[in-house]
Subunit: 210 residues, 2 copies
């Protein structure tokens, strides 16, 4: 999720190991409830935020003998992008759930190998931000080009050319301009939204790696 900066949803552990530390949300697959692990991951998200993620995909499996002091473990990790409109955390869980700024993760003690998992997810998201329109899924349902530019720059941690972004927006055909403009500190900015039933566009070139 993006609001000023990229954020990740963490929960506080209530039992050993790593009691009291923050970790990524997740629990065991419930074969009674979940037809597959995708459904299981989505169920986890909905238990915390009531958000239906606009973007959701499997990251990768993490496994090993050293990642949990209790022994060998395997985690199937998914990541999702959700709109800042949907950040509300379920009241029942407010105490132990928190949106954590990605830049703050660095200096935090995180349970298990979850700091490494977050880094991997971020790296994958950075790559995809360079060659796809995926960053639009971090935004509210109405947004300006300037906000999209800020989202991409937050993800890749580098500035991009506004002109290049506008060319991509036009080429993608994913967005439609609304009959509305919005204040932005200077000239009014055109509002856009996702066209309905549009598919995520992937480009054949990446933006510059610097």
């Amino acid at each position: 999720m993006l609001q000023d900066s990229l954020k990740v949803l963490l929960v506080k552990r209530t039992s050993a190991p790593f009691k009291g530390r923050w970790e990524l949300p997740g629990e065991c697959v419930d074969i009674e409830l979940d037809d597959n692990t995708d459904m299981s991951a989505l169920r986890n998200i909905k238990a915390l935020t009531a958000a239906t993620p606009q973007f959701f995909e499997q990251l990768q499996a993490f496994s090993g003998i050293n990642r949990d002091p209790r022994g060998f473990s395997v985690s199937l990790v998914y990541y999702a992008l959700i709109s800042p409109q949907c950040i509300a955390v379920k009241p029942s869980a407010v105490e132990e759930v928190k949106w954590m700024d990605l830049s703050a993760i660095q200096d935090l003690a995180i349970a298990f190998d979850h700091k490494q998992i977050i880094a991997t997810a971020r790296s994958q998201l950075q790559q995809k931000a360079l060659y796809s329109m995926i960053p639009v899924y971090c935004l509210a349902d109405q947004f300006t080009i300037g906000q999209l530019k800020a989202a991409i720059e937050a993800i890749i941690a580098k500035p991009i050319q506004r002109k290049s972004l506008i060319r991509r927006v036009e080429a993608s055909g994913m967005l439609e301009a609304l009959d509305e403009k919005v204040k932005s500190g200077g000239r009014l900015a055109q509002l856009y939204r996702l066209k309905s039933d549009t598919e995520t566009v992937y480009f054949e070139r990446s933006l510059s790696f610097g």
Copy 2:
């Protein structure tokens, strides 16, 4: 593996369900032997072929209630590229192990959802062939540009421009020319090999999608 055409290593099932059908090799993780699932997958490969794959990575996890008649199951799928020099199947397993032409998979009854898994792997390999030097790992340790071109075209099932490939080979700096040329039906072809300790190069553009 590539020899004339892309091939995938299959084993014949010796027990129900799907007894007698071909499937992808794989077995349960052995916590005694495997520090993580990567090692487990490599152990599986070595049990069949004695090859050390030049390229090896996790594809994704497949899971669900319907993919195995015995109930809910999860498979962590890896794929590897190995040189045609290493295709020898361990003698102990010759009966039940086979390199199957990818184009022949279509009309074959494959166990479980493994046909779908193969399709997913192929699709991922196709994408990577368009923006990376990964196809070099399908080849023997000495090869010509023409062979590399054939490998890429076998993977993506489309012709590419020889000139574009040469530009990429030069830009990548991954290969070195040997003091040797080889017959090819016309003018002798320059032999290349991977430089030692070279890293796989990824490009910022994909070759055309057609």
